[in-house]
Amino acid sequence: MREEYLIALVMFAVLIIGQIVTKNEKKWAAVFLLLASVAGSLAAGMGIRFREIVEGPFGFLDAALSVACAAVFSGLLYRTGFYEKLLEKILRIRGRFLKALCVMLFIGLPGMFTGLASLSVLTTGRLAGEKMKAQGVSHGKIAVCVMAGAFFGMMLPPNCLPAIIAANGAGSVLPTPYVGFFMPLLVLTVPCLLLFTGLNIKVLAPEGTAAEEKTEKLPLLPLIAFVLIGAAILVEGLLTSFVYIGGNTLWFFLGALLLLFAKGGSVNAAAESLFDAVIPLALLFTLGSFIEVSSMTGVRGIYSLLTLPQTTGGQTTLVMLVLMAIGLVLSFFLSVPIPAFLVTYAVFPIGWLANPVIVTGISVAAGLAYVFAIRGGLFTETARTLELKDVKWGGSLKALLLPLLLMLVIAVVFVLYGDPLDFLIM
């Protein structure tokens, strides 16, 4: 048996044992990814290679900085009371479909900014869930709507963590910028969002529930920050090829700075907001270490040897689709880390040639892995954060199945026809 197989075995064994022992608890996933990287390095007889273990995360650093700044910005919008007031305004909308769509977009807002569904659940999802509870909506339906809102938010631009992870695979040994994903992510997610909204309009906007009482005005400074940053990000995202006005990281950072002066904004609140994103960020960085150690120890070399003969014509696509499928199946029992790793490996064979449309399609496997996980996924997080009782993973997934299947179909189309669809990269 070649040494590289043994190294891969050790790395995956540490990770899988960790996932099983901790019941896929997200806060432990990063720790076990780190331990698996160290174990791989030791198994290869290279000692603890500190350089590779900390160099791996650098591939994700620029995108992670944008996520970190967005987490502070979004967290401060929550802590200054802006989200709460915004929800009150949305609940006054009279048109039912528009109201339902706005509720979904509201839940998804932090996910859009940060690429993290967990932040949507923690903030806007919690606010919307409380309102739904007060309206007497069943806990099962609340779980479905909050999960869907958070998931679609995560998959919408500007930041999308699964796409950030997949983009790293395209960079081969050098980091790839997370650029050009705005329109592909929109085309991927918007139809699914509209379908879900249409199917769940009775829950999201029940008849005769438009709030009549006068609501308080939106706080001025957060409103200015929200509109300004939102406009800058939209302009830059939609016109990436023509306009450069500083990038998302800078805009989120400026927005967060502005919000420090709003009522409820403080350094402590900013630190708490960043802390909400620390576990996913650490997960991202330790995944970088895991990938780097797998490259350093030759595991990736073996993978390349096995796949390169297949990487002509349609065989490349087959490798990508097979790895996506394996990731999705594994996600049921082992949550996100291994599917996320497989997603980067799915992109490796096309490397520099990968265009963001194909990468967006592949990234869906990592996104869906978070929803499909029986334990330690989006369902567990939603039920725990919103203190929902008697909700079942199977029931929630069943209610989400149609929009998720549509997303999977669009993802496969992106993977199959990514090259002719490259006009979506703006």
């Binding site: 806060k27 720790v31 650093l61 800078l250 950072f253 708490e272 802390f275 620390v278 960020l281 330790t286």
Partner: protein
């Protein structure tokens, strides 16, 4: 100029992480914070 902005952003994020380290947290959260902090700090040292 761009390097300076980049450095300022990383530095501010690192300070916020330090503020979090000073608070009572569980072991996994502390390890995660340390992982992010070390990555930010080492990147900052690489800026030319």
């Amino acid at each position: 100029m761009l390097e300076l902005i980049y450095y300022v952003i990383i530095a501010v994020m690192a300070v916020l992480l330090f503020v979090n380290l000073a608070k009572k947290r569980g072991w996994p959260e502390l390890i995660c914070t340390a992982v992010v902090l070390v990555t930010f700090a080492l990147r900052a040292l690489h800026i030319k």
